[in-house]
């Protein structure tokens, strides 16, 4: 029996040496360890041995079985590792620098700027309102204290429609009156201050070129409460603009005349490019004229149902306007204003998102 085992051992070692893959290893395993394999054959021979040799031979077979099992496992692990290594080595190293551009959508730049501002104002407690593009003479002019003979009401500047008393709104201020009437009752009954912004598309009769458009976006805002002051207005504008430009901006106010505010201001910010030293962007002045603003004119508050004839200063408030189209031009460095409305996808598809 000893000799048989020795013989088988040598045979196994010789055969294992020629095995390099899982399949032949499995064949070898079956040849030795299956029911019909060599080890089983040894076991059946064991039964024929006399009783006193059985124990010793049994131990020998068992140790032989364990020995070759261990060899199998070891060999199996070697082959698995080799196979894994082969897979890794044969794998392709990919080139991510290849130009791979699947279709990607884009937002209109005005949408991007508008959303950013709406988020800022929303975080400061402002309602975001929308308004029609076709308005009547009352809302666009009269309710804003713009007298009947004012040049802004000329047909050369404003698009009047063939329908009775209607026009394309020439400024977002046209929404002021409606918003005051909408939120006024909440202010007076619940003490909820009016804080609203209203972005919108405006129209003015202009010949179109790189710097002029007949269709553009503004965003207007108002804040009305019992004791709103000029001091609050300056604080708010500075805070809001610092948020818009994501840095601490320096602002200055100059007198500016608009019939719907009193006092009215032109607000300048210190040039963000040169920091106020003077450069081509600010025409060497160090300042950029950015947004008109002011304390809402007492007549406008009266027409908006906020104050009575008897107490024209019961509530006070401020209003401001931002040129969304202009902000978008500043933010993205768009030089030709026509880019916004002429639908050229070579330009617009670049505004992938934020």
């Amino acid at each position: 029996m000893k000799d048989r085992i020795k013989e088988l051992k040598e045979k196994f070692s010789a055969q294992l040496g020629t095995v390099y893959d899982q399949k032949s290893l499995e064949e070898l395993r079956l040849a030795f360890l299956s029911k019909k394999g060599h080890v089983s054959a040894l076991m059946s021979e064991l039964a024929k041995l006399p009783g006193d040799q059985k124990k010793e031979a049994g131990a020998l077979i068992n140790s032989f079985k364990q020995e070759i099992s261990a060899h199998f496992d070891e060999k199996m692990e070697q082959i698995r590792k080799a196979e894994e290594e082969r897979l890794i080595n044969s794998a392709e190293s990919y080139d991510e620098s290849l130009p791979e551009e699947r279709a990607r959508g884009s937002y209109h730049p005005i949408t991007l700027v508008q959303r950013e501002l709406e988020d800022i104002f929303g975080s400061m407690g402002f309602d975001v309102e929308d308004y029609s593009e076709i308005v009547d003479d009352y809302h666009c002019f009269e309710a804003l204290n713009i007298p009947p003979y004012h040049p802004a009401r000329d047909m050369q500047d404003t698009y009047y429609l063939s329908t009775p008393n209607q026009l394309l709104k020439s400024h977002t201020s046209a929404a002021q009156n409606s918003i005051m009437h909408k939120y006024g009752p909440l202010l007076k009954e619940k003490g909820r201050p009016i804080r609203a912004v209203f972005p919108g598309r405006c129209f003015r009769n202009e010949d179109i070129d790189a710097c002029h458009e007949n269709t553009f976006f503004q965003m207007e805002g108002i804040m009305i409460d019992k004791n709103i002051s000029i001091s609050n207005l300056i604080y708010f504008m500075k805070t809001m603009l610092s948020e818009v430009f994501e840095r601490d901006v320096t602002v200055r106010l100059r007198p500016g005349f608009f019939p719907f505010v009193e006092p009215g201001f032109e607000l300048d910010i210190q040039c963000l490019i040169c920091g106020g030293k003077g450069c081509s962007s600010c025409k060497d002045s160090g300042w950029l004229e950015l947004c008109p603003c002011g304390m809402i004119h007492p007549n406008v508050l009266k027409y908006g149902g906020i104050n009575s004839e008897e107490d024209p200063y019961e509530y006070t408030g401020f209003a401001f306007g931002l040129g969304l189209t202009r902000l978008a031009m500043m933010k993205y460095g768009v030089k030709d204003i026509r880019t916004f409305n002429e639908g050229d996808l070579n330009a617009l598809s670049q505004f992938v998102s934020k």
Binding site: R102, A103, R104, G105, S106, Y107, H108, T111, G122, G125, D127, V128, D130, S132, E133, I134, Y149, D154, Y159, Y160, L161, T163, P164, N165, L168, P193, R201, F203, N205, N214, T215, D225, N227, S229, I230, S231, N232, Y235, F236, K238, R252, L253, R254, P255, F257, E262, P263, M295, P298, P312, Y313, T316, N341, G343, D344, L345, N346, L348, S349, S353
Partner: protein, 788 residues
């Protein structure tokens, strides 16, 4: 408008002030300054020099060789001026000096050395006259610095006219000087004037026939005028302020306009007998002094001599009555006209003048008399021999009311949010010419006439006066204290944002904006024309901004056409307004629509169409948790395909249409392309209620799938088949999914996977088969059968 600091200094003492800082404060407190020029800064080493000899240049037919006595020596100078001659004193720039940015150096001119240059007024920058060199008074000593003879050094700043629209008082130097007085705290000097010395009873005949449009007309007749050239100082100021010297009388009227803002007109006295201010009864022709002929309509205010028109009121005088260089008698007009009438007339005639620009700002009628007295003073100073030949005739038919406004410190504090003392309020208003009656913190403020024509009428206006002089830079800034209340986004805003996000991020579309009009040219390229709709008043058929669009497609289809080389496949969308004609009350029916256009040269029309269906389904399921129903309909617009135009509904409301393109239009855009359009009314979409999200606890037992391959006869739609497996009858049917669609020429087949699931166990094969048999039975009634 240009402002001369020399002129300002006539009225306010600015000794020791930093002029540049002061101008900066003017920007922050009054009106925007657009630029500053330092006149005379480029003039150096220019002195009075006497030409003591003048000979022809040996090598030139127009140059002279001069000897010039410049006080410190005699210089040889080559000069080409035609008026160069022996004996005159001229402006002489010495070598080492500079003129108009040019350094003066010794140089050879055609072989002769020239040491210095004789200058014209243009070269000194004080006029545009380049006819010859300056001729100075003989008694000026040689070597005198030219800047001590003439006020060449000056600081000129330009104010943005737009920022003066509401300030009629700032259209002259005197009003601007008042601002500087208030800003510095120095007093404003009185304007030097002269009373009329005439003591007879002759008058200028003045009749204001139209009392609505002419508020005041002040006049005087002056004779024996002998001087015709205005003083150099006046000429320089006029030139620095953008005007130019013409003759003494014209110059004084212009000077006063720049000084007081009051336009004046001088008629040649020989042509004027009796002045009438009125509008013409019918159209007339009139030639203005610039030689142009105009058609004057009856809504234009005119000045007549008896019944002959002599001037367009507030705009320009006539050619026939114009003063000339040798006028010896004049009739002066200093008047106040209705601003709107002047503006409209000037705009109608295309004749916007310095005078009309001022009148349209609503000038103070109190100024007309002061202006006449100022005219007398300036004319007398220049020509003491004049004779006033009439009383100052003053017809004043329309006064503005005097405005008095009560105000107190508490109001100012509340409106400003800061603490400004009553003393300071009083001092500021007084320095600006307001009359302040004060008792403690209470004040009664009377508005000066030059601010009362439209500018200031209420307390808020006074606050502006106080704060702008106080300086906004000096404000302490404060936040507000208000109750904290939620400000949620409106459904309208949320829907709009969500839809844009889905279209951009999921469907990779590009958002565009287009204008609200249909461009007839753009539409013509596609074989389309604008549809009848609301239009702009006075627009023509062919105008780009004439007819409003009825559908966003009228703009988006041309966009696709223009972008067809952008890519083989792309999609665009816009949320924008269009107008669906008029409402019952005759006003425009403005709609806010979503328009989506898909274009492809790679995909089939069918596949593109199904993408569009997916877009619609996504929009409704993500925002409303609703299913969409589709109904084929007849096309409404020329670009819609007769067979594939479909309305889509949710909750029974028609939200929009989906269509492929009419083949006639499609082929105009590109060969072998497919285009699909969606247009949805956003207001209808917003109004559709949304279902609450319904959560179903998933079963812990696996679903049993069962695939059916079906042959579908022509004309049977998926929603017809869907009726065969109503979810209500089959609660355990958890999912129905289309696995495959196969179309061949004669058959249409579809493979559908049904998944069944129970909460407490797995369904057996027999149970599933039973349910499938029911479905198959129902399908059979619609002639849908299992594929063999």
């Amino acid at each position: 408008m240009f402002v001369s600091m020399n002129w300002i200094r006539d009225f306010v003492d600015l000794e020791g002030e930093d002029i540049e800082k002061l101008i900066q404060r003017f920007t922050l407190s009054t009106a925007e300054v657009e630029g500053i020029q330092y006149k005379g800064s480029d003039i150096k080493e220019v002195v009075a020099g006497k030409i003591i000899s003048c000979e022809d240049h040996p090598d030139s037919d127009h140059l002279h060789v001069l000897k010039v006595d410049a006080g410190d020596g005699i210089y040889d100078v080559v000069c080409g001026a035609p008026n160069a001659r022996c004996g005159i004193t001229t402006a002489f720039a010495k070598t080492g000096g500079s003129v108009g940015g040019m350094k003066i150096k010794s140089a050879k001119l055609r072989g002769v050395v020239s040491n210095g240059m004789c200058c014209s007024t243009k070269e000194l920058g004080i006029s545009d006259d380049h006819e010859g060199i300056m001729e100075l008074d003989d008694d000026i000593a040689c070597g005198t610095d030219i800047k001590t003879i003439f006020p060449i050094d000056d600081v000129i700043f330009e104010v943005d006219n737009k920022s003066l629209t509401n300030r009629p008082d700032l259209w002259g130097h005197y009003g601007i000087a008042r601002e500087f007085a208030a800003l510095t705290g120095h007093p404003l000097k009185e304007l030097p004037v002269m009373e009329n010395p005439y003591d007879g009873d002759a008058k200028v005949n003045v009749t204001i026939a139209n009392k609505d449009l002419c508020f005041r007309y002040t006049s005087i007749r002056i004779e024996n005028i002998t001087k015709h050239v205005s003083p150099m100082q006046m000429q320089i100021r006029l030139y620095y302020c953008g005007s130019r010297a013409i003759n003494l009388l014209a110059d004084i009227t212009n000077y006063i306009m720049l000084e007081l803002g009051q336009p004046m007109h001088a008629f040649d006295g020989h042509f004027i007998d009796s002045i009438v201010v009125d509008t013409p009864k019918e159209n007339i022709n009139f030639t203005t002094l610039d030689g142009n002929s105009h058609e004057i309509t009856p809504d234009t205010l005119m000045i007549y001599n008896n019944d002959t028109a002599v001037a367009i009121a507030g705009i320009m005088g006539g050619l026939d009555s114009e003063i000339t260089a040798d006028t010896d008698t004049l009739v002066l007009e200093s008047a106040n006209f209705d601003g709107v009438c002047v503006r409209k007339s000037a705009s109608r005639l295309g004749l916007r003048t310095d005078a009309s620009a001022r009148y349209e700002k609503t000038l103070d009628p109190e100024m007309t008399l002061t202006a006449v007295k100022r005219f007398l003073k300036l004319l007398y100073d220049a020509d003491p021999g004049i004779k006033c030949a009439s009383e100052v005739t003053d017809v004043y038919v329309k006064h503005y009311p005097t405005i008095t406004i009560p105000i107190n410190k508490a109001f100012v504090d509340r409106y400003t949010g800061i603490d400004i003392s009553a003393d300071r309020i009083e001092a500021t208003l007084s320095s600006l010419g307001f009359d302040v009656k004060r008792s403690g913190d209470e004040m009664n403020v009377t508005v000066p006439s030059y601010r009362a024509t439209k500018d200031i009428s209420m307390q808020a206006d006074l606050v502006e006066e106080i704060t702008r002089i106080y300086g906004y830079d000096n404000f302490e800034i404060k936040t507000t204290f208000e109750p904290l209340l939620p400000a949620r986004k409106t459904a309208r805003k949320i829907n709009e944002n969500n839809i844009k996000d889905a279209l951009v991020r999921r469907f990779c579309l590009h958002e565009v904006h287009s204008r609200i009009w249909c461009d007839p040219d753009d539409l013509r390229d596609l074989g389309l024309s604008p549809e009848d709709n609301v239009r702009l008043l006075g627009s023509s058929e062919e105008s780009e901004t004439g007819i409003l669009r009825t559908s966003l497609m009228q703009c988006l289809l041309p966009f696709v056409y223009k972008n067809r080389s952008f890519d083989d496949s792309f999609g665009i969308f816009e949320i924008g307004r269009c107008v669906r004609n008029t409402k019952a009350d005759g006003t425009a029916d403005e709609r806010r629509n979503l328009g989506v256009l898909l274009y492809s040269k790679e995909e089939s029309e069918k596949s593109l169409y199904m993408t569009a269906v997916d877009i619609i389904n996504t929009v409704f399921s993500e925002n409303k948790h609703l299913r969409v129903e589709y109904k084929k309909t007849q096309p409404e617009h020329a670009w819609q395909h007769p067979k594939n135009t479909t309305e889509f509904y949710a909750e029974g409301k028609m939200a929009g249409t989906l269509n492929t393109l009419h083949p006639a239009i499609l082929k105009k855009i590109a060969k072998n392309c497919a285009i699909v359009c969606i247009e949805m009314d956003m207001d209808v979409f917003d109004a559709i209620g949304s279902c609450d999200l319904e959560f179903n606890e998933p079963s812990r037992f696996p679903a049993v799938d069962y695939d059916l391959s079906l042959v579908v006869p022509e004309g049977v739609r998926f929603d017809d088949m869907e009726q065969c497996w109503d979810r209500k009858d089959n609660p355990e049917l958890s999912k129905v999914k289309v696995i495959d669609i196969y179309d061949s020429e004669d058959t249409k087949s579809i493979t559908i996977r049904f998944s069944f699931v129970l909460d407490d166990r797995t369904l057996t094969g027999e149970e599933v088969q039973k349910r499938i048999d029911v479905i198959l039975n129902k399908l059979e009634q619609k002639n849908v059968r299992l594929r063999s």
